[in-house]
Every structure is written in C-alpha cells, then in structure tokens.
Assembly symmetry: C2
Homo-oligomer: 219 residues x 2
DNA sequence: GTATGATTTAAATGGACGTTTCAATAAGAG
DNA sequence: CTCTTATTGAAACGTCCATTTAAATCATAC
C-alpha cells in the first residue's frame, strides 16, 4: 500500500470504480479502502468527480502520450509515404496493453476502468474524457485515411469506432475471459496480437459501397 | 404515451436508463417521467432492479429469438455444410439493427441502453443479462468454428468478443455520430453493412499463430 | 523550545435514495 | 346495489449519500 494518502485514495478509487462503476462507489467505500478519513477525498481532490478525473488522467495520459509519440516517429520516418494500416493499428493498441503488462497482475483493475468509462459516465464527464482522447483518435483517423484512399472520411471514422469498441470491450471483459481459464484462455500478449490482426483486416476491407456494388453486379 | 401505467413506466425507465445509466436514475425520475406515483414501480415490478430486468427483457428477447430462429433456418438448409462467416455475422447483427429501424427515430433510446448494459451493471445483474445472451453467443461461436476450421476454439471466442464490442460500442455511441451530422454521417442501414464487412474481414483473417509464424519465417 | 502550515480526525449537515404503509379510489362480478 | 380485487395516492420510513466544519494532530522551520 502506498505511503501517502493521496496515492492510496487513487489506488482504492481506481479499483472500486473499475469493479462497481463510478455512481455505485461511495466516498465511504473509497476512504475505507484507502484507510483514510472520509474527508480526505474532498481535502486532496475537491470532489468525487474531480477524483475520478484524477484517476483517469493518471492512466490515460501516459497511454495517449505514447500513442502520439510513436505516431510522430512513424510519420517523420515515413516521409510522405502513408503508414501501413497494421502499423497504425499496432501503434494505437499496443500502449494500452503494455500498461496492462506493467501492472503485473493478470487482470489489472484500471483496464476494466478504462473500458467502463467508455459507456458509463454521464455526457459531461465523458466529454472531458473524450477531449483527452478525441484529438488522438482524430490524428489516427487522418493517418488511416492516407493509407486507405479508397475509403471516404465517413467510413474510416466508423471503422475507428468499431476499433475502439473492440478495444474497450476487450479491456472490460477480456480480463474475465483471461481469468476464468476456460477455452478462451490466452495471455494478454497473444490477445493483443489477435486483436491487431482482426482489426487490421476490418480496417482494410474494401469500402462498403464497392462491396454492395459488386454484389449488385453479380446478380 | 401508453395508456397503462406499467408500460408508461417501462418506456420512461428505458429512456432514462439509456441516457443516464441505471444507478444514476432514481425511482422519482422514473415515476415522474411516467406520470405515475412513486410507489407504482414497486407495485408493478417489485423493485428497481426488477424493473431494469423487465426493461431489458422486453427488448433483448425478441432480438435473441430472431437471431436463433434465423440461425436454425440457416443450419437446417445448409445440411452439414458450414455456414459462411459473412452470413453468420449478418444473422447475428441484423436483428438488433432492425429494431433500431422499427422504432423510427434516428437514435432510439434502447440501443444506447443495450450498449450501456454491456459495461455498466454490476456483476450479478450482468450475469442475469448474460445468461439470456450467453447461450446465443455460444451457439454462434460454435457455428463460426465450423466455418473457420483453421482457428482454435479460443481464438474464435476472442474474435466473437471483438465483434460484440464493436456492436455494443456502435449501439451506444454510433447514434451520437448519426445525430451530429458531421463527416461520419450515414444512415443506420449503411452503418450495419459497414459493420458486417468490417467484422467479417476480422473474423476470417488467418489465425494469429500462423501470422506470427509467417512473420518469423520472413525474417 | 515556539510558530506555521499541512494533514487528519470526528461529528454533523441537509438532501436524496429505495421502499413501505395504509387509506382512497377504480373496476369488475354477483 | 354490494362485495372483492386491483390500482393509485400521499406521506413517511430508515438509510446512505457527498460535503462541510472545526478542532486535533503532525511536520517542518526558525
């Protein structure tokens, strides 16, 4: 357990938010889990909502920084060549799974938290979260467009939505699959690779319009 | 507005649960939205949780019945031939988007609700929800296996997880994309087709193991 | 030592929560 | 009509909530 109260609160809140969700976790749950006084959250963070933002920021910021840093690297070394779709997918997905590894356990709590946050928080709170990630997503969407000139901007963005959905859902519930040790067991590195292959195939499939047209032709 | 209280409560609860989530919606919100007395929910449903289950059941049951009915049909007409992956994807995804259409509006509330429920409710509640859908998922997973003999059971189930993730995320947030009318606009029929093509490509990609092996070979 | 600011503590605040009670009303059967 | 059951209404129940207060304790500097 962390030595200072502020970090103990962050740790406890992260675990509880991940397990039960934000609205269902009480300040009393958090401070009890952190072995702190009930007033400590408001003293250190100001409010319950500000605590959630702090919890999220601690995890998301490094992930998004890693994503953007690697994308910068890729783009500068590629010159005016488009970056391959698989590399983009890999660059986007890897950082979040790396932190999964770093935190040791088979099912770190904050993965579930990140997955949860995609569906749970109210519009206002989600907006704050999205601002952090939205700009990153838009950068990747633009990079995808360059490598997929047959697709219009709209289709690329829908596919990015599918990508994020698979990722978030895997973060939330994949840990359960990893844990139960049933027929779906496989370690997180392999899951990441499976997700990358799956997503790359989806991203690079011919445009819906062209598939529909070909289908019409065949009749 | 529905004439009888029970249905008015279901309608109001569906909308509120979809917009704010289950824990953040109060009985007072619901009964006020349904123009009913605060005691009406407990009288008609027994508890707030039982109301949520009723709300979910009303929407999920027909969707899952349609999925299974069409799968039965496909399997009986296919004899001992495996069903094509695209057809399976289409059969799984179409019913939920059809009800999207049926309910007219561009962004029916219960789509958001269904998406939400994948991440929000606590473990117990989710278990009840999953029992409804889990058996259906397993039937589809088995059918996918037959058409994808190169994949082991584990990889098929991970890919099904990705599929469900894209679907749930699209249900939750796709409506927002549809609504805002930005560059990602496209009608729900086209979104479904885009998702089907994307997912089919992901499901049919060579196994991760073989890709990794080929990659090693190439070095 | 004393003084100063940061942190922790225990207690209380007012409000919102899900649920229950029980009387009032409505609906349908004989 | 009367009797019976189903539904609604207003009010209250006890509990838990996030937050605030103000005193107590700790840490550090002088």
């Amino acid at each position: 357990m962390a030595t200072n109260t502020k970090e103990r609160i962050l740790d406890a809140a992260e675990e509880l938010f991940a397990d039960r969700g934000f609205p269902s976790t009480s300040m009393r749950d958090i401070t009890q889990g952190a072995d702190a006084n009930i007033a400590a959250v408001n003293y250190h963070f100001g409010s319950k909502e500000a605590l959630l933002l702090a919890v999220l920021k601690r995890r998301i910021e490094p992930v998004n920084q890693a994503r953007v840093a690697r994308l910068d690297e890729l783009e500068s070394s590629a010159g005016d060549q488009p970056i391959s779709t698989e590399e983009l997918v890999r660059t986007f997905l890897t950082p979040v799974f790396e932190t999964w590894q770093e935190h040791g356990g088979a099912a770190p709590k904050y993965m579930k938290l990140l997955g949860r946050i995609h569906a749970e928080v109210d519009q206002d709170l989600r907006t704050k979260f999205i601002q952090e990630t939205g700009a990153v997503l838009e950068r990747f969407a633009t990079a995808f467009e360059r490598g997929l000139p047959a697709l219009d901007a709209s289709e690329v963005r829908w596919r990015v939505l599918f990508l994020v959905g698979s990722m978030a859902y895997t973060m939330t519930w994949g840990t359960a699959l990893l844990e139960v040790g049933d027929q779906a067991r496989r370690d997180s590195e392999q899951v990441l690779e499976t997700l990358i292959q799956y997503t790359t195939a989806g991203m690079t499939v011919p445009s819906t319009a062209s598939v529909v047209a070909a289908d019409r032709e065949a009749r």
